[in-house]
Amino acid sequence: MIILEDIHKVYLRKNVETTALKGVSLQVDKGDIFGVIGYSGAGKSTLVRLVNYLERPTSGKVIVDGQLLADRSAHELRQIKKDIGMIFQHFNLLESKTIYQNVAMPLILSKKGKKETKERVTELLAFVGLSDKANSYPNELSGGQKQRVGIARALASKPKILLCDEATSALDPQTTQSILDLLKKVNNEYGITIMLITHEMSVIQKVCNKVAVMEEGEIIEQGSVLDVFGHPKHATSKNFVQTVVRTEIPENIKRKLAVREVTTLTKLEMVGDHATEPVLQSLINKFHLDVSVVFTNMTEIQDTTLAIWYLQIEGKESDKRAAWQFLEEQNVRYEEVTV
């Protein structure tokens, strides 16, 4: 659906060059909700603006729905943009126009008839739950309502892709949740592929199925959300994951372990059904091991569960080896960690 191939982007302003992207490649498949996370200045906005060619790459390929954008004329690009909706952190609604007129704007630009426009706008306002606000103006709406209008407007031309640049960053947690629910609904009911930019890992956790972590113009890690949350490899990804999932042992527990002179623990990571299977029971009953739980954390990600256990395991070496074998068969990741 969206393919970026070895993209470099250099901004030139007043003879100062800023390299925003250094060889970024990624692929977003149809139906994905693809999250891009990174700190300020990482190049996230630049990346998402390439997809609808608001920004042109200095080098590299942008392919959307099988079309290489560099080959397209200005006129063709405008048509392609109508297939790509976009919503913004600050909503960017026309203050001088009513909610109805704002949502109708893409249809007006495409010179659609009055009747068709009316039907479509009415349907969209109902979809985002703002039917009663058709004749209000943006300054009469709350932030969350404005973003709903933004979403309705972005959907007006029946796009296949929706780009969201920090769409919830100006909203409080509750409103954020309702907008994220709406985005999920957009993805489910209309089958629209979503690419969203954020600096909050909780946003990724709640809606995305894939994630790319960006730092200084590069994608340092990408994959399925479960994988990246389960075992982030890069330090920055770990920091992001830590903001929503406790994968490390808290300091006070570490202190207690030190007192008891415990140095090695076994860390188990279980995803989905495994997380709720009685793995511990088996370790104790089947392999006669002495298992005590030092620390555990369970997190809901994308309707499945990610569980992390830190265990102190005592027992015969042969029993332990048999237990490791069992864990491998069960697809449970385990590792010895020193504290």
Partner: protein
């Protein structure tokens, strides 16, 4: 009651002439000023249709004309005025320098108003696949409308001030009454009335402009 040589009729006629001069030059000046103002916004580097040459030519021309005081502009333009309206005196002859005076002023005001429209609005427009014309027509102009009304109010008041100097080329208007009767014939009633009339007109125009702008902004 007052020691004056001026009749009410003369006043009414002068006000009519002022309105004629201001109205005509405002109309034509607004058309050209808006065109130049829009051009200078869209062709600037980073604008929606970057065209550096147009920008680099228009910008200094606007600055140059704006730096010439109106009284000098009137005199300097006499040959030009004659070639256009066939005479260098009278109301119509005053309109030519008034237009030349007000057009760059309006262009600047329009430029400022249009630049107030945030880059976010233009980004949204472009993300919808709007053509450059659509960006201007459906996004920038409606968003800048209230501000444009205030700009035109300012321009109108400026024109009223300038038109009072039109007496130099034998045009009429309230300014002319102030000079011919008030200054040259020491008729302080004429002078005083002119000032009062100008104050009232300016007040009415300013508050009308403010009210309109507020109505458009709905608050």
């Amino acid at each position: 009651m007052f020691d004056t040589n001026i009749t009410l009729n003369q006043f009414v006629e002068a006000i009519g002439e002022s309105f004629y001069m201001v109205g005509m030059s405002l109309l034509i000046g607004t058309i050209f000023g808006a065109i130049f103002g829009i051009l200078i916004v869209v062709t600037r580097p980073g604008g929606i249709i970057p065209f550096p040459i147009v920008y680099m030519i228009l910008n200094p021309i606007i600055n140059t004309i704006r730096s010439v005081p109106f009284i000098i502009l009137i005199v300097a333009l006499i040959p030009f005025t004659r070639s256009i309206v066939g005479t260098s005196i009278g109301n119509n002859a005053a309109i030519v320098p008034l237009i030349i005076f007000i057009t760059p002023f309006i262009a600047r005001l329009v430029e400022n108003s249009l630049l107030e429209v945030g880059p976010g609005i233009i980004e949204a427009a472009e993300s919808m696949g709007a053509t450059p014309f659509q960006v201007i027509w459906h996004f920038i102009l409606p968003e800048a409308f209230a501000s444009l009304i205030l700009s035109l109010t300012t321009a109108t008041i400026s024109l009223i001030g300038a038109s009072a100097m039109a007496g130099v080329v034998g045009a009429g208007g309230v300014g002319n009454i102030a000079i011919v009767y008030g200054y040259q014939r020491f008729d302080s009633f004429a002078m005083f009335s002119t000032v009062v009339i100008l104050i009232i007109i300016v007040q009415v125009i300013q508050s009308t402009g403010n009210k309109l702008a507020r109505m458009i902004r709905r608050n």
